[in-house]
């Protein structure tokens, strides 16, 4: 039984007809064509689907679209203004913190929130902050370097 949900996505109100079981990640990807948010697992481990819901990093595969009705969601497509890269995106680029790019949107979304919570993290704090985002390509070394660079902390 479908119902309409209205979610403010990247600043714009969007409405879609969804089943109650429609996952937020599928609403974003299929109904709204925002394919930058990715699916990497089915047990809420990998974090590739991370978006911001009400300004908080969440795994959009573990949120029903109906739970986000009336709320604000930001995806990777919504973080750079006017075509400029967000400082975190720039830091990832400058530090070679991505290879295949598949985990990258989720990783960036989490990393930005990590620094909001803890603006000058140690490397250990960065690693723990990213414990919910899996990457197979980079070995995390350059991701940690990118987040450190974005924080301005010098080692």
């Amino acid at each position: 039984m479908k119902s309409a949900v209205t979610i403010t996505v990247n600043g714009a109100p969007r409405t879609a007809e969804v089943e109650p079981r429609t996952l937020l990640v599928h609403l974003l990807r299929e109904h709204l064509n925002l394919t930058g948010t990715h699916v990497g697992c089915d047990t809420s481990n990998c974090g590739a689907c991370t978006v911001w819901l009400g300004g908080e990093a969440v795994k959009s595969c573990t949120v029903l679209a109906v739970q986000a009705d009336g709320r604000e969601v930001t995806t990777i497509e919504g973080i750079s203004g006017n075509g400029d890269l967000h400082p975190m995106q720039r830091a990832f680029h400058e530090n070679h913190a991505l290879q295949c790019g598949y985990c990258t949107p989720g990783m960036v979304m989490t990393a930005i929130k990590l620094l909001e919570e803890n603006p000058e993290p140690t490397d250990e704090e960065i690693r723990h902050g990213l414990e919910g985002n899996l990457c197979r390509c980079t070995g995390y070394e350059n991701i940690v370097a990118a987040v450190r660079a974005a924080s301005g902390v010098t080692v």
């Binding site: 109650p20 079981r21 974090g47 969440v58 795994k59 573990t62 029903l64 902050g129 414990e131």
Partner: protein, 272 residues
């Protein structure tokens, strides 16, 4: 990945939610943060006919100071509990345990009420509640009642909440000296074994998760602690335990971890 279809209700009050539970009976489940329920539904290990989403009932969120206790609404997220100044100063073991759940994203959605109602045999929050001798409030058709932690966790994913009751809040005594020590293989994992120790002068309350169908109080260890002997207490931590053996840990290893972590939790709790 994809749950079976279900009907969805979004009540705006606890009374409405309780009424919906009554109406839909056994086929209904309460949805809070959804981070226990939705993963099971996505693997099709659970398929409720109706989800009653209480996430919009804002009266169920928040931490307040009740003098000797803290009162926490059931929908308060782990992130909120971990970050709450009240909790960090008044009952730091609870903040510590909340901060240890899953990962940042999970903590932004998972709730204290959901975690307690789920009663996972590896759960962190139930263990800490047990060690604190806290209690929960439950609202049902007959009104509101209080359930002590010791009476709440009955067995595997089973609490003493009645099918038509909703867990609405948690009450914990303020406790300055407590520590939750959790052991896992990977940072985001459930505990293999976790120990919560709350020390009050020369006595301790110790609860252990991952060693049975539900978290338990380590009563022999508590008795052995009297006077402040962490090492002696730890020796007795596994007494009376009948832990499971599974791919995450054998019964022997779990017993061993119970002893090791009890010692570490007590030492950390008394270090202040």
């Amino acid at each position: 990945m994809i749950p079976r279809a279900f009907a969805y209700e979004r009540p705006t009050s606890v009374a409405d939610a309780a009424g919906l539970l009554r109406t839909h009976g056994e086929g209904a489940r309460i949805l809070a943060g959804g981070h226990s329920l939705l993963p099971m539904m996505k693997l099709r290990l659970a398929a409720p006919e109706t989800l009653i989403d209480i996430g919009g009932i804002s009266s169920l969120r928040g931490v307040s100071d009740a003098g000797s206790h803290l009162v926490i609404g059931a929908l308060t997220t782990h992130a909120e509990v971990a970050g709450s100044d009240l909790v960090r100063s008044g009952c730091p073991i609870l903040a510590q345990a909340a901060a240890s759940v899953g990962d940042m994203q999970v903590r932004n959605r998972g709730t204290i009420g959901g975690s307690l109602a789920q009663a996972d045999p590896h759960g962190d929050l139930p263990t800490v509640l047990l060690a604190l001798d806290g209690d929960v409030s439950a609202e049902g058709p007959d009104g509101i009642r209080t359930i002590a932690a010791a009476d709440l966790f009955l067995g595997f994913l089973t609490t003493s909440l009645r099918p038509d009751e909703i867990l609405t809040g948690v009450r914990v005594p303020k406790a300055a000296n407590g520590a939750y020590v959790k052991f896992n293989r990977r940072a985001q994992d459930w505990a293999i074994v976790g120990v919560a120790a709350v020390v009050d002068g020369s006595s301790a309350r110790i609860a252990i998760t991952g060693v049975g169908a539900a978290p338990v109080r380590a009563e022999a260890a508590e008795r052995a602690f009297s006077g402040g002997n962490a090492a002696e207490a730890a020796e007795h931590a596994a007494e009376g335990l009948d832990p499971p053996s599974d791919s995450a840990g054998s019964a022997d290893y779990r017993r061993h971890l119970a002893r090791v972590l009890t010692r570490r939790a007590l030492e950390e709790a008394t270090a202040g």
